[in-house]
Symmetry: C3
Subunit: 476 residues, 3 copies
Amino acid sequence: MIPLELHPDRLFPSDPATRSLARSLYATVQDLPIVSPHGHTDPQWFADDAPFPDSSSLLIVPDHYVFRMLYSQGVGLDELGVLPRPDASVSASGAGRHDPRAIWRTFATRYHLFRGTPTRLWLDHAFNTVFGIDERLTPESADRYFDRIEACLQEPAFRPRALFERFNIEVIATTESPLDPLSHHRRIRESGWKGRVLTAYRPDPVVDPQFEGFAGNVAQLGALTGEDTATWGGYLAAHRARRAFFRAMGATSTDHGHPTARTLDLGAAECQRLLDRALRGSVTAEEAESFRAQMLTEMARMSLDDGLVMQIHPGSFRNHNPQVHARFGRDKGADIPMRTDYVGALKPLLDRYGNERDFTLILFTLDETTYARELAPLAGHYPALRLGPPWWFHDSYQGMLRFLEQAIETAGFYNTVGFNDDTRAFLSIPARHDVWRRVACRFLATCVVEHRFGEDEAFELAPLLARDLAKAAYKL
Amino acid sequence: MIPLELHPDRLFPSDPATRSLARSLYATVQDLPIVSPHGHTDPQWFADDAPFPDSSSLLIVPDHYVFRMLYSQGVGLDELGVLPRPDASVSASGAGRHDPRAIWRTFATRYHLFRGTPTRLWLDHAFNTVFGIDERLTPESADRYFDRIEACLQEPAFRPRALFERFNIEVIATTESPLDPLSHHRRIRESGWKGRVLTAYRPDPVVDPQFEGFAGNVAQLGALTGEDTATWGGYLAAHRARRAFFRAMGATSTDHGHPTARTLDLGAAECQRLLDRALRGSVTAEEAESFRAQMLTEMARMSLDDGLVMQIHPGSFRNHNPQVHARFGRDKGADIPMRTDYVGALKPLLDRYGNERDFTLILFTLDETTYARELAPLAGHYPALRLGPPWWFHDSYQGMLRFLEQAIETAGFYNTVGFNDDTRAFLSIPARHDVWRRVACRFLATCVVEHRFGEDEAFELAPLLARDLAKAAYKL
Amino acid sequence: MIPLELHPDRLFPSDPATRSLARSLYATVQDLPIVSPHGHTDPQWFADDAPFPDSSSLLIVPDHYVFRMLYSQGVGLDELGVLPRPDASVSASGAGRHDPRAIWRTFATRYHLFRGTPTRLWLDHAFNTVFGIDERLTPESADRYFDRIEACLQEPAFRPRALFERFNIEVIATTESPLDPLSHHRRIRESGWKGRVLTAYRPDPVVDPQFEGFAGNVAQLGALTGEDTATWGGYLAAHRARRAFFRAMGATSTDHGHPTARTLDLGAAECQRLLDRALRGSVTAEEAESFRAQMLTEMARMSLDDGLVMQIHPGSFRNHNPQVHARFGRDKGADIPMRTDYVGALKPLLDRYGNERDFTLILFTLDETTYARELAPLAGHYPALRLGPPWWFHDSYQGMLRFLEQAIETAGFYNTVGFNDDTRAFLSIPARHDVWRRVACRFLATCVVEHRFGEDEAFELAPLLARDLAKAAYKL
């Protein structure tokens, strides 16, 4: 048996002076409550508070970081319990069978593949701190792991709400479509449980003409709001109505997952024309892009009115692998980052609303080359802009260091918004915030040890980065 | 009161062996005279040698690094004393009022915003070494700062020439339009003062058809030189004449601030056609780009004749914020870097003059992705090319490290040109050179400690990077 | 005399804890045999086993890293013994004369130019370990160097096969055109010498319509194989035949040096049309690109059948300098990296073969921005993809660190393929592998010291990175 221990100095640099200060800084933030202003956890967990079914369903099947790596090394997604999409034309071999222990063994046998990845850090953290496991996951320990986790999941202490409390989550935001009735959120509120679970307005299904079922979605949006969403005015009014409903249910933000950061500021007639074509399903790719681009500007306009903080998460080539998409659907580890422009793309929106002090637009990127070249210079000028933390593939130890090293010199700390975990993997949340807090403290310690600013200032910045910038930026 | 001290080891790594060697290397270059071969200081300062008016006018109003950060955090430019442009259609609130102490307090209250930025390093350096202040700038110390600086500025020791001498500036270049009569430079020369202040030929107003007042500028160029600048031949002859005048006034270089690094090598007929359209104001954006591109090649050709070193500073999206531009004009912190291509863009010019040993073209970039991919490989091959130092947003501690780490392995040290401060903020000049010298020594020390080359070689390279490569490359 | 010593801790960080562990890790891999799965050494060396002619011919004339740097600093290529191309319209001054000692002195006088470059590390390594020289190369020591190297080259111990054995090369792959009869490889095999020298299939001359002599090359391919290469079917069959021949001669891989990573998946009629136009020499640049793109997909298809591992080395703008090309030909240090897209470019090929477990496509890049943004996410998903090591300008100390820091977090170690030296400079091979092994061990040591994974795991990974991943990926 190989011991699993989370070293108290992990992710701190080896240099003794820097490590020592990083440790002191971290000591002041490690126990701060978690503010998770953006992510994809399932509100039903907290509404139902039912036990998580099994270790594979909890830790492997829903975690695209995990199964994409295993898939890259020759493991079929069906061997991992990923279900084929209901309408898959090709039946997945082994579909229907779900043998959690077999899946777990498949995973454990290949745990070495995750060496050097953030997934390894997150999982070890969860194994140790959530399940109290003190040996490393290996083929040999796989069954002991499985049995231990299964046993735990039967306990009340491992139900969603208990974990939420144990994780010391002060507030968490989920992400829902405008078409979502938010019934889980309503049940959470009505339950009397004091955990703070908010929604966020993510209108991709009704603003992206290339989204599956767009026309039907827009019609449904009309039905929900009593607006004629076939007219540009009615369509916008329907958004306003749903945003108001989301706000009433606690939302403080919207989120937009477009392929690019393109924005436009078109006249109403052109907007109506694009909407017409989009609803008829006859838009070209370029028109679809224009429609999405226009909608970012519309969303900014509405944010100025209703105060919802706006987020853009652009630059992912979704469903790059058509075979995987045809068989297993979206979000199966086949989304690939693309080069992303911000300077030209955001200009129409910024020309309109970039100088507003009462509007906040938080920018994310999958293209790290934009940190120093575009994003930090933009955020260091426009009052409306703030920089989101390293995202997705860059939500990692080195990714965070690169962000801090490349963005802070031009944007400063105060044009950033601390951390987002942005995950659907519930158990990774404490680990992800812990990695961020450690890396942020390490960065601050390095600044102090190299006399770039004072130690007192680092102690002031540490809790801002760990929690308070996020709370403020997202109005939580 | 929080002490302000410039730690003797600032910007050196914490590792004792590396720090110790960095310190030894730095000791050999810290007092070398400053060679500032490219920048934007105002020659009138040195011609008039009048006292600087007040601390805000000296340190805040003209420093776009300072006011862009404050603006990004909700402070209006008029609150900072930035004057509206004379022709601004919208009158700026508070325009006309200039209360230096109020501006200073606004700034001091937000000095924490600059934590982690080079501006903080530069300002602290100036506060301490120029004004002898030994406490940190805080809201509480704001008035003491203001009073101290105001008092200093009354003293003869704080006039431009005295500071020039105190800063140990061996030579500084300013940057002027071909239309500038260089009267300030003439007065400096005729004054008998021994400070060496040179001009540089920056023809953007007469080579960029999209520059405000282009046709008038070109007509004025004709008037100044007695050439018919409506003909391609006359237009080029006028450039030659003004370059000769600038050279006679001490210029050793030209500088070109184009949106891209695009060059062309067109026939004379096409050039005449583009000039015609440019003067008529009927160029398309593409034709304007072609005209600028052609002019880079023409400037290279003239440099071969007259020996002026050529610089290209491409890649800035100028005046990105139309509201700020309409109200306050150019250079108000709203210029944003863009992705920049060199490999294709420079080819027409390099095809002609890249192999010349008697021509020097110094390349700058705002797109760090080009350091290792394009610029170092180009400079490591073409005899005419040299790499300028990290520029603007990248003239920073981490920016310099990235430049050295990404460019030197392919370009070597000898295809670089040491440091440029490129600033209009006079008091930041010693600080900027100090940051460069420290980072360069740190880089050299790391190379030695990791046994990439010998300690004797690092001691040979340190003064080259600090001063001598710049002197040689700019023929100073 | 300045001593030349290869410090045992070179390239290890100064921090004592990290250095100590890096040293221990390196001790376990430093003497592992060299697996060189991709490169450009000349098989004739090993077939003839004749002495290398002289130090300049061995170390300078064939090494584009060396002469590009000297050229960038004003040394003519003819001064360095680079021969003009036979058909050069302009006769090179000094052509015909080859004075090795004069060349060596020219080089030695400028050896300081290589400070901070990998060339310096490689050459010092060769000087010391191959020739036993213990003083630094300087103008003063130039003649002693020259004499020593000349004397050595007369010795049997310095013949190609002896050096191959002394370098402890387990296997090396060269790279040949499909038109190559592989006679050198045949002679090596028939000689009874046990050195393992394999070929690799590099079809650029017959798949790139813009390659010099394309139509003739394709006709020759037809003649060699008895296929009608004017028909699409015959052309493909000819490839299959040559691949089979290469496999019979030991090849385990193909290699493709296209300008971009573009792939296509066209119908047979369109392929025939493109082939027709290519053979007629009437292709547009776009059609040439389409032909190459299609051929990558064809090569992937053939690899699935015959098991050859496929490599793509895209992104070099070849022969950027037309004057150098006209006078001296290809591979003269004037190839410049370009921005490279993979996400869109590879999609047609990946749509077809990306999910195959029995097909391996190894991706290289000259555009480091793609490591974290495109390549690691692609390789961390598609079963067919693996990441090649840092290449060409990035085969350097910092380049390797950047690769490891940017790619591993998403791709993991097991989606990489260890090291390639990819060189035609035979004497640099041990040095290059040594640099890689040191940097890899340094990276692993840092991971352990910062508690990102266990020390036992680093000791498991070190030999994988040093040799075993390459052996496995290339089926050696």
